[in-house]
């Protein structure tokens, strides 16, 4: 409703101003634009500075600007990849102008999007990195964030697993929070995403076609992000999608076809090794007279081979872009069909996008309409990765099939022929006898009006209305005979949720050069309103035979939050050298009580374009040098643990499995929730110092940044004094965390000739987070569980603890024998009190990498290009839960009356019982990965007189991993290696035709 109201109002404003068109121009200027070799540059733009008058060159590089007001004017010529050139002329009477443009490797004049506006790269005041389509990761990329993996210093993107379409953990500068969200804000074409999940799709971002994306802009320091206020503490990623073209329709078709193979399996004992081991324990029995030897099978089954497959994928995209009756448009469609490594796993996606960008009233009114729609269909083979865990530990001496009542899949039975309830289930049966189908639909888009006032072209009014709606539905069926739920006759469940997010924003921007005082003012002030709602529907659950098992208490529930914002920015530039910028944002969130609702997030930055100083102006070597200093505050209120209604004193209803019997009646009731009425913003203060540099006309360029972030009032779930609330843990504002780091990037165009080019990109980041307080009464000994392991119940391995890295492992110090073999159950008595108990545990390492490195290079010779992307993490540690859980004798010879397999690490330890908390299992997982190796052949124009061009690519993703870590993959989102859906090695052949 509000959106449409705003829309109406906005249109009204714009229509009103269109009435003020003034006509007083005469005279014209013409000329041509050439490249560095003197060849004409078609499509270069020319703009009369201080006005909206512009044009572009024709096929021969010629232009003409007519109807110009008399007097002196400055005309700027620009072209992508070239430095902008300005010339001053008088109207009328100017001779034909010739602009010869010089290539700009560093693209200092490129206009990049920033929060609520754009800026030329050279004038950026914050720590901002852009990555364009040319530099994206290549190959089979299903989700957008994967496009920039390893490309930006300080941005760590880890795909959660190898499942098709799966989401990624994105961390900019490590994340600033403990329990609230550490995800950056993602803004697509000015529309911020809500961060609420979409169920029955692999991930929310999997509903966005990467092929529609033009650029990523990553905002890192507070000067860049603070205008997004309360959602900016973890950085901001601005995604710009592709827009319309400039002339005749250009049709582009691309197809990528790939095969994914398992890159590495978990190293487990072979069937013969198990047989040898069991036979070596001939008397070992799980009960009187029942030996393990009698349980041995005769098969040689590699259970991982049984559940994994080579997976095919095809990704096809068609787009048409051009200008229709002067209106730029782009229409695109995509279809992806991707199998997963896990048998039966499948992800289908159809996407469509339309953008139209009419320009009215001689470009005074710019309208951008963008609509995107996606339908996905998934078959999820993956039931919480249980089949993967069981494939690791299932007895390799058993065959996959057997003649029985469980669908003829082998299962562990008891002596009486009934199912052993404590056995792992046959992993193949787990996948095959579970039918989980999900469908999701998403549509998002925005309509943006940017009006430059006729009587005051320096003033812009910008209205942006966006929406993002989605729906996910699914059903899961497990037949009654499936061993996984044999005792309950299988199950039939369904799910449905919808989300509805609305955005409306309005801002005014005034930009004015005042030549007399060599100053430029750029002022923005705006208002935003955001409404995010997700509705979860509840359904009856049935057994596979149709017997009703549980009924929900309520048909649905809505999680909704709103945000209301005012924001402003002032950028003052003196002499094109000194830039002072300040931003302010005021946010009010429905997640907090009225008294605490408003948060104010200021930032200020000073930028010195040293290159503009006289002593550097003429330098041949230095082409850019810029110093940036900034300070700012940002906020955080997001994340599932925070919830939408946590500040309210409320009672919640029991579920139908939580009733209580009094007399003969089972009663329903309400229970009070723990709550903190004073809940408020988590605030991060960031200090940043940066240096942008460029040498040799941008052949070498990059940036160096150092930062210090301090988060206070952490929204953390902490122990509160027991008896003060309806839980001993509460999400409240308590605690502090520090983040320190440095980032460095270097781009080097080593060779740039007509036939050969060789580019390098390198980035490095150091990041260290430290929890400094976790309690209302600061106490150095406090810690809060941050990650449990599999195996026992409730075994916590990771803690957030004072003076430690978040998620540090809390373990015993293993004692080794002379040969370096760990002694079972022997730990150091670190407090020397004569007893080894949990007081001797210590904090040892954390999953956070100390240093992350990215490297890419592309070498082109004529029509051939070979390129690669490498990434490395140093100092990240992993807890090897596969070995600690499965790699023990008591797991192989299981008291549950069965034989299991063990990880190969068992041969090192020979442990009998689990030693979960030994630091032996905390392993250095530093790694070097080659993400991508690609070869491209650009055939160029296929025929002499047509525009048809062709590009053929071959890619390999996940080429190799070098690491001392022996597990299946050293790169994990949570630092606990247990049942990772392995990331595949993917071979892709691609074809791109344009005409």
């Amino acid at each position: 409703m509000r959106v449409f109201y705003l829309l109406k109002q906005g249109l009204l404003v714009l229509l009103l101003f269109s009435a003020f068109m003034v006509k007083a121009q005469t005279g014209s200027v013409s000329g041509k634009v050439l490249d560095e070799t003197g060849q004409p540059l078609p499509g270069a733009s020319l703009i009369v500075k201080g006005t909206t008058r512009s044009t572009s060159t024709d096929a021969n590089g010629n232009f003409k600007l007519a109807g110009l007001a008399n007097g002196p004017i400055t005309i700027a010529a620009s072209f992508i990849g070239y430095q902008t050139l300005e010339k001053a002329v008088n109207v009328p009477g100017a001779a034909a102008l010739t602009f010869q443009l010089v290539p700009d490797a560093q693209k200092l004049n490129e206009v990049v999007v920033i929060g609520y506006g754009t800026a030329e790269k050279k004038n950026l005041t914050g720590s901002i990195t852009t990555v364009g389509a040319k530099d994206f990761q290549k190959g089979t990329i299903t989700t957008p964030e994967q496009l920039i993996q390893g490309k930006v210093a300080g941005v760590n993107i880890i795909s959660s697993s190898g499942q098709p379409g799966v989401g990624s953990q994105i961390r900019i500068r490590g994340g600033a929070s403990l329990n609230a969200s550490n995800d950056p804000l993602i803004v697509i074409d000015g529309v911020p995403f809500s961060g609420k999940s979409i169920d029955n799709a692999p991930s929310p971002l999997s509903l966005i076609n990467p092929n529609d994306i033009e650029t990523f802009t990553v905002l890192k320091d507070a000067n860049a992000t603070a205008i997004y206020g309360s959602r900016a503490s973890n950085g901001v990623i601005l995604i710009t999608t592709k827009k319309g073209g400039s002339g005749a329709p250009v049709i582009n078709f691309s197809t990528n076809n790939s095969i994914a193979t398992i890159a590495k399996k978990v190293d487990v004992l072979s069937a013969d090794q198990i047989r040898t081991f069991v036979n070596a324990n001939p008397t070992a029995a799980y009960d009187v007279g029942k030996t393990f030897v009698s349980l041995l099978g005769k098969a040689n089954t590699d259970w991982q081979d049984e559940i994994f497959q080579n997976a095919f994928a095809t990704d096809n995209n068609l787009s048409i872009a051009g200008k229709f009756h002067g209106v730029p448009y782009r229409v695109s469609a995509g279809y992806l069909d991707q199998q997963g490594l896990l048998i039966t796993d499948r992800f289908n996606r159809a996407t469509g996008a339309i953008t139209v960008s009419p320009r009215l009233f001689t470009d005074h009114l710019k309208i951008d309409l963008s609509l995107k729609g996606t339908l996905t269909e998934s078959h999820f083979a993956n039931d919480n990765n249980n089949a993967i865990a069981n494939a690791i530990q299932f007895d390799p001496t058993q065959s996959v099939t057997a003649s029985n009542q469980f669908g003829n899949y082998f299962e562990w039975l008891r002596a009486d022929g009934t199912l052993n309830p404590n056995a792992p289930r046959n992993p193949v049966a787990q996948v095959m006898l579970r039918d989980n189908n999900g469908n999701a639909a998403r549509s998002f888009g925005n309509l943006r009006f940017d009006y430059s006032f006729h009587f005051l072209p320096e003033l812009h009014a910008n209205l942006n209305l966006g929406y993002d709606v989605s729906k996910g539905s699914g059903n899961i069926f497990v037949p009654a005979f499936a061993a996984t739920s044999f005792s309950t006759n299988g199950s039939a469940t369904q799910s449905l949720n919808t989300s509805n997010n609305k955005v409306s924003e309005f801002y005014l921007n005034y930009a004015k050069d005042v030549a007399s005082i060599r100053s430029r003012f750029d002022v923005t002030a705006g208002y935003g309103y955001y409404d995010n709602a997700k509705t979860n529907y509840s359904f009856n659950e049935y057994s596979a035979t149709g017997v009703l098992r549980t009924t929900p208490k309520f048909p649905f529930s809505v999680d909704r939050n709103k945000l209301l914002s005012y924001y402003g920015r002032l950028v003052y530039t003196l002499a094109d050298k000194y830039i002072l910028s300040g931003t302010m944002r005021a946010d009010a969130s429905s997640r907090f009580a009225e008294e605490n609702r408003w948060g104010y997030f200021p930032s200020v930055g000073f930028t010195w374009r040293i290159i503009g100083e006289n002593f550097l102006k003429e330098s041949k070597a230095v082409s850019d040098l810029k110093l940036r200093l900034s300070y700012g505050e940002t906020g955080n209120k997001d994340g599932d643990t925070v919830g939408d209604y946590s500040y309210l004193a409320k009672y919640y209803a029991n579920s139908n499995t939580g009733q209580y019997q009094i007399g003969d009646t089972f009663y329903d009731y309400y229970a009070p929730s723990a709550y903190d009425p004073d809940l408020r913003w988590e605030t991060t203060t960031t200090y940043n110092a940066g240096l942008d540099y460029g040498f040799f006309k941008g052949r070498i360029y990059g940036a160096l940044d150092v930062y210090y972030k301090k988060t206070k009032d952490l929204l953390a779930t902490v122990n509160i004094p027991v008896g003060t609330n309806f839980n001993n843990n509460l999400i409240t504002n308590v605690g502090n965390m520090d983040v320190r780091g440095a980032e460095f990037s270097l781009n080097f165009a080593a060779i740039k000739t007509e036939n050969v080019s060789w580019d390098f990109g390198f980035n490095a980041a150091y990041n260290k987070r430290k929890v400094t307080n976790l309690t209302l009464n600061p106490d150095p000994g406090s810690k809060q569980g941050a990650g449990d392991i599999s195996g026992g119940t409730g075994i916590t391995i990771k803690y957030n603890a004072v003076n430690q890295l978040p998620g540090a492992f809390f373990v015993y110090k293993q004692v080794y024998d002379g040969a370096g073999k760990p002694l079972e159950g022997v730990y150091e008595d670190s407090n020397a009190d004569g007893v080894v108990n949990s007081s001797d545990q210590y904090f040892y390492k954390s999953p956070d990498p100390k240093i992350t490195l990215g490297f890419n290079t592309a070498f082109s010779y004529k029509k051939w290009t070979i390129s690669t992307v490498l990434r490395a993490n140093l100092g990240n540690y992993v807890y090897d839960n596969v070995s600690s859980n499965f790699g023990i004798k008591n797991n192989i010879l299981s008291a549950a009356g069965l034989i299991n397999n063990a990880g190969i690490d068992f041969l090192n330890t020979n442990f009998t019982t689990s030693q979960y908390l030994s630091d032996y299992y905390v392993k250095n997982a530093s790694f070097l990965k080659m993400d991508n190796l690609g070869l491209a052949y650009d055939a160029g124009k296929l025929f002499k007189n047509s525009n048809t061009n062709l590009r053929i690519t071959a890619n390999c993703q996940n080429v190799f991993v070098i690491s001392n870590y022996k597990g299946v993959d050293p790169e994990l989102t949570d630092g606990i290696d247990f049942k990772l859906y392995p990331r595949p090695r993917t071979y892709t052949l691609g074809l791109n035709v344009g005409f």
């Binding site: 404003v13 209301l564 019982t913």
Partner: protein, 527 residues
């Protein structure tokens, strides 16, 4: 030009004024949750709120077995009874657990440290139930009732609910008094918020529990007249009797006479022993049961969690013991069994002579804690009715067996022990009658009758009658045998042969987490 500026201003103003409704726009409410005023709007609402007080000690969470309303502990561990049982049995000669979950081996050895997750869980859960009772008491004052137009018989009924809320609070304070000694202390006077609770000393807490139980006596229903599952005068007296029996430990002053007084009240209140001992621990123990005084109720479909009797039944058997015959076809977790001491108290471990000895297995010595079949399994609790029927269960694991927090047999034994310890108001002859009532049920005839009694006899007889019913630690402490080296059992003190424990371990520590969170708290001596 001037006009157009006005238009800009006006329009901008209009756009911004769209926020006029912002105050309300940002006040969002959850779909299905409600406020206290809705919960307590009607007399029926008060009844439901009362049920919630009881549900708190049965369930891990109102929203099912996967959730927990205490933090920092796995939901499967987080119900009151499992935690209470663990604190009372696992640390003694009556039980031992095979699992390596954090904190369990240390409880097996009775060498827990100050952040043992189970002890912290018990402490947190007990105080949670107290906090919820306090909330009920705040919402049910005469003023609140009047403001909600609840009068007459409805108001009288709610007066009784209040007494029950105070009983449940007193019960949990007794749990804390017995286990932790000096816990934080909150009543209905302490609103929800951030004021750190003060610590109460053990003797003062004893006095508080005593005075509360006496103060509410008149408002509680007469014995055996209340709904099943709700506390009555019988429960009140039973807890007083238990409190007085242990007064010497709690305060340094013995109150055996009072223990006799109150156990006598219970004994004379119309309760009678159930004919077959084993039927007390079957899934239909809620029917025709004249022995149980107050139960925690469980249901395999409607009120489920992985603690309570689900834990008692499943943890005591493994897959090889035919879980279906214990009413848990998908269960059998293979954890708990007894050390050799308990079966040794019986004439035979097969239940042939004394039918109370309900054990499974052949190897009574525990050599390896991690081997479930080391030590006899206690199969006293079965999720099967006396007619052999298994109740409905959501997953073939959840049990519908109720657990008696108080039953008549305990009161017989309190009476006898208090008489032997010199309390007045009772007689040895009467004590002998009560004890032999229990033994005749156990033996099926008078062949097991005893003719003399002693203080020590009661420690063993309590073990035989009440084993695995969450009494053992309290009993051993009362007899001075829990710590020190007077009595050793396998793995006591972490040594297979058994080792002495320091006296400070008669109390559990205040959990480290709460010591840090609440600066008013001082750690118990010795930790």
């Amino acid at each position: 030009m001037k006009n157009s500026f006005k238009i800009i201003l006006a329009t901008t103003g209009l756009l911004l004024s769209l926020n006029a409704c912002k105050k309300d726009a940002l006040n969002l409410k959850p779909t299905n949750d409600v406020t206290a005023d809705v919960v307590y709007a009607t007399p029926a609402g008060y009844k439901q709120a009362l049920v919630k007080l009881y549900a708190t000690y049965s369930l891990t969470s109102p929203t099912g077995s996967d959730n927990s309303d205490i933090g920092g502990l796995n939901a499967g561990f987080a119900d009151f009874f499992r935690l209470f049982w663990t604190s009372q049995e696992l640390v003694t000669d009556e039980a031992i657990c095979a699992w390596g979950d954090t904190g369990i081996p240390e409880l097996d050895y009775a060498t827990w440290n100050t952040d043992n997750q189970f002890l912290r869980g018990l402490y947190s859960k007990s105080i949670l139930q107290i906090t919820i009772c306090n909330e009920f008491l705040r919402e049910s004052t005469p003023e609140k009732l009047a403001s909600r137009n609840i009068t007459g018989a409805d108001a009288t009924a709610i007066q009784r609910y209040r007494a029950e809320a105070r009983f449940l609070r007193a019960f949990q304070y007794w749990v804390l008094l017995d286990g932790f000694g000096n816990p934080p202390f909150v009543t209905e006077e302490d609103a929800i918020g951030k004021t750190n609770p003060k610590q109460i000393q053990r003797a003062a807490l004893f006095a508080y529990v005593e005075s509360e139980l006496k103060a509410i006596e008149g408002d509680l229903a007469d014995p055996r007249t209340n709904d099943y599952g709700r506390a009555d005068k019988g429960a009140d007296w039973s807890l007083l009797a238990r409190l007085y029996l242990n007064a010497q430990v709690y305060t340094g002053t013995a109150k055996y006479t009072e223990a006799i007084t109150y156990s006598t009240k219970v004994i004379n209140a119309g309760y009678s022993l159930k004919a077959n001992y084993k039927d007390l621990f079957l899934a239909d123990n809620n029917l025709n049961n004249t022995e149980n005084i107050l139960t925690i109720n469980y249901d395999g479909v409607k009120g489920t969690n992985y603690g309570g009797t689900t834990f008692l039944v499943n943890a005591a058997i493994n897959a090889d013991m035919s879980p279906a015959s214990y009413g848990v076809p998908s269960g059998g977790w293979g954890g708990n069994r007894t050390r050799q001491n308990l079966p040794a108290l019986f004439p035979d471990p097969n239940g042939t002579t004394d039918k109370r000895g309900i054990f499974f297995g052949t190897k009574s010595n525990v050599d390896d804690i991690g081997v479930f079949t080391d030590g006899l399994r206690v199969t006293k609790f079965k999720n099967v009715t006396s007619g052999g029927v298994t109740p409905a269960s959501l997953n073939g694991t959840f049990s519908s067996l109720d657990f008696a927090l108080f039953r008549l047999a305990e009161q017989y034994l309190i009476y006898g022990e208090a008489v032997m310890r010199g309390g007045s108001g009772g007689s040895t002859a009467q004590a002998l009658t009560y004890v032999n009532n229990l033994r005749r049920r156990a033996y099926g005839n008078n062949s097991g009758d005893v003719s003399t009694l002693s203080v020590d006899f009661f420690l063993d007889e309590r073990a035989r009658e009440l084993y695995w019913e969450a009494h053992r630690r309290t009993d051993l402490i009362r007899y001075g045998r829990f710590t020190g080296s007077t009595y050793l059992w396998p793995f006591k003190g972490g040594v297979k042969a058994g080792a002495s424990l320091p006296a400070y371990r008669n109390l559990y520590p205040i959990p480290t987490a709460d010591l840090i969170a609440n600066p008013n708290l001082v750690q118990n001596t010795g930790y």
